[in-house]
């Protein structure tokens, strides 16, 4: 095996996310400043909804007080069940379907949205038990939910989202304007 190559790649080496996923972003979700979402789309079309690094929950040392997948009286994302290869029975989500509400210890509440159309496969129950995962590993173990877009929409669902490059421009602009003010 090619050890030489591996040795000096420990920091540059592409991570699991780099290798298999494309990052897509939604900035200022629902017009709320900085509430950025990041969608990781696997080459097999499966999408993982995560918080973008710039999301307010991950800023200023905020701590999480509670995570609630009960998005209305009648609907809890925790009740989502899929069965079989075809994932029958999963809740079908549209771009602006709320996935969960996260309350921080400073009493700020944030709603995390689906951002893409598709069938909800699972929500991350591990963050209920260990909310710190969300803060420490927002783009891996601290994911919010897994969504399977319709086969025929797997390309088009990301049309409304920003690419990594576009999102970085948004961040740069944001940084510039905050300096100005």
């Amino acid at each position: 095996m090619d050890n030489e190559e591996c040795k000096d790649t420990q920091d540059k080496a592409p991570s699991v996310v780099d290798r298999y996923y494309t990052r897509w972003y939604r900035a200022d979700m629902k017009g709320k400043p900085c509430e950025d979402h990041c969608i990781l789309q696997h080459s097999n079309r499966i999408c993982v909804v995560t918080l973008a690094e710039s999301h307010p929950i991950l800023q200023n040392g905020r701590q999480i007080k509670s995570i609630n997948y009960q998005i209305s009286n009648g609907c809890s994302r925790l009740n989502n069940k899929v069965s079989g290869k075809s994932k029958r029975g999963g809740q079908f989500l549209t771009d602006f379907a709320p996935l969960c509400r996260i309350t921080c210890t400073d009493e700020n509440e944030y709603t995390i949205y689906s951002c893409i159309r598709g069938r909800l496969l699972e929500v991350n129950e591990a963050i209920l038990e260990t909310p710190s995962l969300l803060l420490q590993k927002p783009s891996t173990d601290g994911y919010i939910a897994v969504i399977l877009p319709k086969f025929e929409e797997s390309k088009s669902i990301t049309e409304n989202l920003l690419s990594r490059e576009e999102f970085e421009k948004v961040l740069a602009k944001r940084a510039a304007s905050s300096q100005l003010s």
Partner: protein, 537 residues
């Protein structure tokens, strides 16, 4: 001599008048004397015409067996009856012969065709030595290896409708002959066709056995577009029988038509369909002869030495990724040797495109579709294996052998219980020392809860599966790398165990080492399945 009795006469009369060919007449007389079907159709026709015009012959014919030879000379005078009867017979026969002759001529002139209303020409045009030679030639051209063959005949479904119509036409007469006879006693077109043709084809193919069960099938198919609409009325009388299915071109399959005919009352049938059936203007069309040899199964074990070779062709959105695949590299020389039309590849699990399979390799089996060659010696198999191995250094094959279909199931059964060994090159985020790894060497039978990896979730059901890592071993490389040896239950996802799959595999290597870990390389060291058996020289 035709094996007919006086009571057959009305049946013969009615069917000939309706436009049935002589062989179909014999069929409806329910005679299973094969020799009667084998004689030329026109000759039988003459005999039948003579038969219905002469009472005397009828009564004598059952006992006079040796007459079969003499009647070839044609003409009723040649019949070798005792002299006492002969005069009378001659008298009658000659008297009727002229009348009989005129009837025949009339038929030829009046009717535009002689195509049989029951078999649509199958037992007329397609049922003689010339046709047998053609079928045999088509078989020979394909150069199959076979010891015996089975002849299969596919007939247009409307033949069932016509058969039923003919049956209703003569039902009363047949019943008068013998009460116990039913429609099932009528000799089937297929059956009569085989009685005539099997022997002829066998002879043409140098005496090969034509049997009822064989590995090699020769299919003869007939169609008759002109009368396809014969079946249509059944759809309205019995709509339940004709449900459209995905793979069928037409809902009027033979099975469906038979079922519908079974349900319909005679009264309803006769209301919608003429009895006897209308005369067709031309005979059936014979499709190309289809030869099919039963599948042959090849097994072996393969190594994969390349990290950019998928096991099977990798196609995304109709676009091919990677130029080759394990199965194609193995199959190409095998298809040439066995002259097969195609193959189905299966194996005991599969490795990812970037994973190598070392050691004794992974068991695989291959179904060869329609192999033209089937007798390949062990020596030739060995040569074939060498050809495969010489063709690419990306793969290697061993224990290549011919196996039975049943044996291939050995590969899949208990697949989950088998163990597999792997070596993984693992990266750690935090710097490690030799001692940090040693605890893993002592871990035995670690049970994992693996949620279906995101990597395969699009095609597998979401579930949490318990898999056991029987043992682990570690080999330190440097501060951020080590080799991990694993012996696991088959079905364990190794990559996900190492990187954790977003925490969806529990426990995982990240948790064991309390740092992020990732997998850089993976090799399958062994697939512990004791099949196929080792091939020794």
């Amino acid at each position: 001599m035709l094996p007919l009795k006086e009571k057959d006469k009305p049946v013969v009369q009615k069917l000939l008048a309706a436009g049935c060919c002589s062989r179909c007449v014999l069929r409806f007389c329910c005679t299973s004397v094969q020799a009667a079907f084998r004689q030329p159709e026109q000759e039988t026709l003459k005999e039948l015409q003579a038969f219905i015009n002469n009472n005397e012959i009828v009564q004598d014919s059952p006992d006079s067996t040796e007459e079969t030879k003499s009647h070839d000379a044609s003409g009723s005078e040649t019949r070798g009856d005792p002299p006492s009867k002969r005069a009378k017979l001659e008298h009658c026969a000659s008297g009727d012969a002229s009348k009989d002759g005129t009837v025949t001529v009339e038929m030829q002139e009046d009717e535009e065709s002689h195509v049989c209303v029951a078999c649509l020409g199958v037992l007329q045009e397609f049922c003689d030595v010339t046709r047998a030679i053609k079928i045999a030639a088509a078989v020979k051209a394909e150069q199959y290896e076979f010891d015996s063959l089975v002849l299969s005949v596919s007939l247009p479904p409307q033949l069932c409708v016509r058969e039923h119509s003919c049956w209703l036409h003569v039902k009363k007469e047949v019943r008068e002959k013998c009460m116990s006879l039913s429609e099932d006693d009528v000799i089937q077109v297929k059956e009569a066709f085989k009685w005539v043709m099997q022997g002829l084809i066998a002879k043409e193919l140098g005496g090969v056995a034509v049997v009822t069960k064989s590995l090699f099938e020769v299919g003869v198919e007939f169609s008759h577009p002109e009368t396809d609409s014969d079946c249509y009325f059944l759809a309205s009388t019995c709509p339940n029988c004709f449900k459209p299915t995905k793979n069928k071109q037409s809902v009027f399959t033979r099975m469906a038509v038979v079922k519908a005919l079974d349900k319909i009352s005679d009264f309803a049938f006769l209301k919608h369909y003429p009895s006897p059936p209308a005369r067709p203007s031309r005979h059936c069309v014979q499709q190309d002869v289809q030869c099919l040899h039963v599948s042959l199964f090849i097994a072996g074990r393969y190594n994969k030495f390349c990290r950019s070779l998928p096991q099977t062709p990798w196609v995304i959105d109709g676009q091919r990724r990677m130029e080759s695949s394990v199965e194609e590299l193995i199959a190409a020389p095998i298809l040439v040797t066995f002259r097969a039309d195609g193959f189905n590849f299966s194996s005991s699990g599969r490795e990812d495109v970037d994973v190598r399979t070392l050691g004794n390799g992974r068991p695989f089996a291959m179904e060869l579709l329609n192999p033209h060659r089937s007798r390949v010696s062990k020596v030739e198999m060995k040569q074939l294996q060498e050809t495969i191995n010489a063709s690419s250094d990306k793969i290697r094959v061993r224990d290549l052998q011919i196996v039975t279909r049943e044996a291939t199931s050995r590969m899949k059964e208990g697949e989950e219980e088998k163990t597999k060994s792997y070596t993984a090159l693992v990266w750690t985020h935090k710097a490690i020392q030799r001692e940090d790894l040693s605890f893993m060497d002592d871990i035995k039978d670690l049970t994992l809860n693996q949620k279906t990896p995101l990597r395969v979730l699009h095609r597998r059901a979401l579930a949490v599966r318990q898999r056991v890592i029987h043992s682990m071993s570690t080999r330190f490389v440097d501060a951020h790398h080590f080799y991990l040896g694993l012996k696991t239950q088959a079905g364990t996802y190794i990559k996900e165990f190492v990187h954790g799959d977003f925490g969806r595999t529990q426990p995982n290597m990240c948790e064991l080492l309390k740092t992020d870990t990732d997998i850089l390389e993976l090799d399958v060291e062994s697939v512990d399945v004791d099949w196929p058996p080792t091939v020794t020289d």
